[in-house]
Amino acid sequence: MKHSFFAKNPSVLLFLACLALFTIAVTVMSEAWGLSLIPTSFVKTLGKTLCLCLVALAMDLIWGFTGILSLGHMAFFAIGGYMIGMWLMYARTEEIVILSLANSPLPATPEEIRQGITSQIFGVVGSSELPPIWSFAHSLPLQLLLVLLVPGLLALVFGWLAFRSRVTGVYLSILTQAMTLTLALWLFQNDSGLRGNNGLSGLQNIPGLGQTSQDVISIWLFLASALALALGYLLLSSITSGKFGSVIRAIRDDETRMRFLGYPVESYKLFVFTLAALIAAIAGALYYPQAGIINPAELAPIASIYLAVWVAIGGRGQLWGAVLGAALVSLLSSWFTGGRAPDLPLGFYTIKWVDWWLILLGLGFVCVTLFAPQGLAGLLQRLAGPLTPRRGGAPLGPDPGALQEKEARE
């Protein structure tokens, strides 16, 4: 290797610098450690946005680089959230139960504590038994392991089944959507053991940190999200810039040719699918403690489609494009739907953005698909054209995002 990784990919350093600046700025302006310019609720929103950026990175890896339009990665995101939520809820309830039992004349037995926790958590769905899937909920390390294991295994099995029978293109999209719907429907049932449509709640209270204020917790979670995003970005940019990146881009551009060249296409796709699921799960595990509540509606197929929308608007095949798209669209979305955007009077009709934002988003999305297939990243690159080296040469694949001749030679 002639040049170091960062020398070859200056955008990575630039991105990390921007992220670091942003993180420091938010921390300084937060209520906990700084000037109290940013309210805690907004710190949480920003932290959640960082998690969404991370899952958008995963989506970019699988869709922008490998060409698999998965409509199921928000399901892995939510499963990650459920897994961490189980521990948060169990441990938090355990604290409350122990506290309330401490007043009784006899010291509590472990059995009584378990009973108390079960009735606290599952009273709403009328169950008095702790479901077996909660067996590990008492232990943070085990449950953290599950954050990775459950989505990872699910993605592995599902991906193996799908790729091995050569389900590609729109079929795979529909199949992943069906998987998401199945999971959502299963979770909606009360006897799934995850509190049905009540979901898990009170996740913002971190067990053991009862005295710590939400201001501080939100900043810690924000910093953790930023760190995860930075690590995720580093990992994915190193993956996509090397030989592996070339292979998966080649799979995107012509899968059959890659198969004939002797590459195990299925294994590559399976690896990418599972890796993206793991990243999504980590993002989810960081997101839901900041959101405070998770319910099966989070798994609705539409959430995964929105994920694709973010990546498409931001720019496929560009890691920072995906981050940009997710941050921009999700922040705009919460700004418009939160009723904070000013109404637009047209004289004969006043446009209320709460009602019209989705229409704007939908049409904007159609326009991006039609006129800027490379998304905002593509537009920015075109604007900044003279600054980046003109690589020239013909694209190596039929898709405009394919490596170009000079790029490939480096």
Binding site: P105, L106, P110, I174, M179, T182, W186, A308, G362, F365
Partner: protein, 648 residues
């Protein structure tokens, strides 16, 4: 009173037969005036029976009046009259029906029998109403008996059969008589015969009559069960019933002490805390169950708490007893016949339910077919995923709603709405194809995204225009109700109409595809677009028309779905995934494939729902899992397209 009595005596003496009967009811009342005035449930039976058996035509009227507070006793002499309000007082009639002047209300005491007595009177009245000249009253009486039968009805009912002239009522009476016989007849042979006489009948009334005969209760005996007990089966604790339940039976029978629950033990321990310890165990050490048990045993030994059964004692006691399921009905022949009849009924009912399920599945399949066929055309011919297809369905349903706002007559409005919906969604489809999809033919994955953008925009637009609440799309009156074959197999007319509509569309599309120029060109473009273009077919025009056709059919499906589902802006969401599944499972680009897919998914969903009736969510989960697995084995669907188009 004496004069009256003399009068009655005279009448009795002078008039033979009928006239003799005529005074009898009055005489019975007279003889038992005290009882009649202050009846008690225990002792009034013979009086009522005597009245009912008197044969006097007045008896029914007297009984009815008695039950309805239409009798009163004159305070001065205790004579009982039939009364009806007249001005401020009562118009009196004596018990032979003759007018007897008017009395002030203060002079009379109304007779108010209590509910129990009224019940007895009503039962006695049954035989009169069963023989009432008016068939409507007789039918009413039969219904009343069927609803609330008792042993007392059996005799009057049997007596009423020979005199029945109306053949329908006669059949009803016979059936009811058998139903009462099998429940109340003292002769068990007659009951068994009555049970067997129903043969292949599956009526709800029969099931309701048989089920109580086979109810069981659990009982425990430490010796062989009593001779009269009708044993359904012997139970072994631990295998047939859980040991806890067996113990509960013993507790209920008073043969065993209450189990020591964790809570009672805890309360007992708390009550005996002394000097920071309980039964010699330090308080702080009581944080596990074994320590608590030790403390309790210590207290038990000290006699401070009641003894509680330990596990060994429980096992020993359970071993000493025999547990049985006992029929509440004492007659074994009857219970055997009833169980046999019930199991035969449940077999037949099962078969009928299967038939009903098949009907349901067919109707669900036709809904899926209608919803999916438009998608199949666009997906199959153009390889374009139209995520806005669900919104076209919604658009059709809203078109139907708007048409109903303008045309109030439901029949005409439906007839207008169907072509209107087609026209509206056809136009929308063509517009979408021209404006958006045309540019994306080379990037099929991105049509999915672009049409999704259109889908969320359309959904929000509908929400802005029509609001979030559900709008009604009312079916014409002649589609109300259902076609019932018997009390199990039934199908609503709307579902039949949808089935007919789906069949019509199947024929229509088959005709268009196989017998018209357009269909020929569509198939040519589907098989090989470039070759078709070089043969002089304009593929752009074909794509536009196909897309319009597919969207138009979605609109019509929307009207059909709106008739039974609520029309909301999210209507399309409910059908889009199912439609995709139908198309993918069936095989892309093939009408028969879509039909097969719809049939498979409809049957599967209904079948799973039947296996797990309490949970439609679980049914859908299992169905989608099945589909995912199915695609593993037939990735191209049930009917895979052959030729170049399938080569990718």
């Amino acid at each position: 009173m004496r004069t009256l009595f003399l009068l009655f005596a005279l009448l009795l003496a002078l008039t033979p037969a009928r006239a003799q009967a005529e005074g009898k009811a009055a005489a019975v009342v007279l003889d038992n005036a005290g009882q009649v005035a202050k009846p008690s449930r225990q002792s009034i039976g013979p009086v009522i029976d005597a009245l009912a058996a008197s044969g006097d035509p007045m008896a029914a009227e007297i009984l009815a009046a008695w039950a309805e507070k239409g009798l009163a006793q004159r305070k001065s002499d205790g004579v009982i009259f039939l009364i009806r309000p007249s001005g401020d007082g009562w118009a009196l009639r004596d018990l032979t029906g003759a007018e007897a002047g008017i009395a002030a209300k203060t002079d009379m005491t109304e007779l108010k029998p209590n509910a129990g007595v009224r019940g007895l009177i009503q039962t006695a009245l049954v035989q009169f109403t069963l023989a009432d000249p008016d068939p409507a009253r007789r039918a009413e009486a039969l219904t009343a008996i069927a609803r609330d039968a008792s042993a007392g009805h059996l005799e009057p009912l049997r007596n009423a059969i020979p005199g029945e002239s109306n053949p329908v009522l006669l059949a009803q009476k016979h059936r009811l008589e058998r139903l009462l016989t099998l429940r109340f007849d003292p002769d068990s042979a007659a009951r068994v015969k009555a049970i067997e006489s129903f043969g292949a009948d599956t009526g709800l009334d029969l099931r309701a009559a048989l089920t109580p005969l086979t109810t069981t209760r659990r009982a425990a005996f430490d010796s062989p069960p009593p001779a009269g007990a009708n044993i359904a089966r012997a139970l072994i604790p631990g295998t047939d019933i859980p040991a806890e339940e067996a113990w509960d039976i013993l507790i209920a029978a008073g043969a065993a002490p209450e189990r020591l629950s964790v809570k009672t033990a805890r309360d007992a321990l708390i009550a005996n805390i002394a000097n920071g310890e309980v039964g010699g165990v330090k308080l702080a050490a009581l944080n596990d169950q074994a320590a608590r048990d030790r403390a309790y045993t210590a207290l038990e030994a000290a006699g401070a708490v009641p003894p509680a059964a330990t596990e060994d004692e429980v096992a020993a006691t359970l071993a000493r007893y025999h547990f049985y399921d006992l029929y509440t009905e004492p007659e074994p022949a009857v219970t055997t016949a009833a169980s046999a009849a019930l199991s035969a009924i449940s077999t037949r009912v099962g078969a009928m339910q299967a038939a009903d399920l098949a009907l349901d599945a067919v109707s669900l399949a036709s809904i899926y077919f209608l919803a999916a066929i438009g998608l199949a055309i666009t997906f199959g011919v153009m390889g374009v995923i139209n995520m806005a297809h669900g919104e076209f369905i919604m658009m059709g349903a809203y078109t139907g709603y708007v048409v109903q706002l303008i045309i109030p007559d439901y029949t005409i409005s439906i007839i207008v709405a169907l072509p209107m919906a087609f026209a509206v969604t056809f136009a929308a489809g063509v517009a979408m194809e021209r404006l958006v999809i045309r540019h994306l033919y080379k990037r099929p994955l991105e049509t999915l995204l672009a049409t999704f953008g259109i889908s969320i925009a359309l959904q929000q637009l509908a929400k802005n225009i029509f609001g979030t609440q559900a709008r009604p799309l009312t079916a014409p009156a002649w589609l109300d109700g259902q076609l019932a074959f018997n009390d199990i197999i039934a199908i609503s007319y709307i579902r039949i109409a949808i089935f007919v509509l789906a069949t019509l569309f199947l024929c229509f599309i088959l005709f268009v595809m196989k017998r018209t120029r357009l269909g020929l060109e569509v198939r040519a473009v589907q098989q090989n677009r470039n070759m078709a273009a070089s043969m002089g077919i304009n593929p752009d025009r074909i794509n536009m028309l196909t897309f319009g056709l597919g969207s138009g059919i979605a609109g019509i499906a929307g009207v059909a779905i709106g008739l039974f589902a609520k029309v909301t802006s999210e209507l399309g969401n409910d059908y889009i995934v199912q439609s995709f599944m139908t198309v993918v499972v069936g095989g892309v680009g093939n009408i028969w494939g879509t039909l097969a897919g719809a049939a498979l998914i409809g049957t599967l969903q209904k079948g799973i729902e039947w296996l797990n009736p309490s949970n439609t969510l679980a049914a859908q989960t299992w169905m989608i899992l099945f589909i995912i697995l199915f695609i593993q084995f037939r990735p191209r669907g049930i009917i895979a397209l052959k030729g170049r188009a399938a080569g990718d």
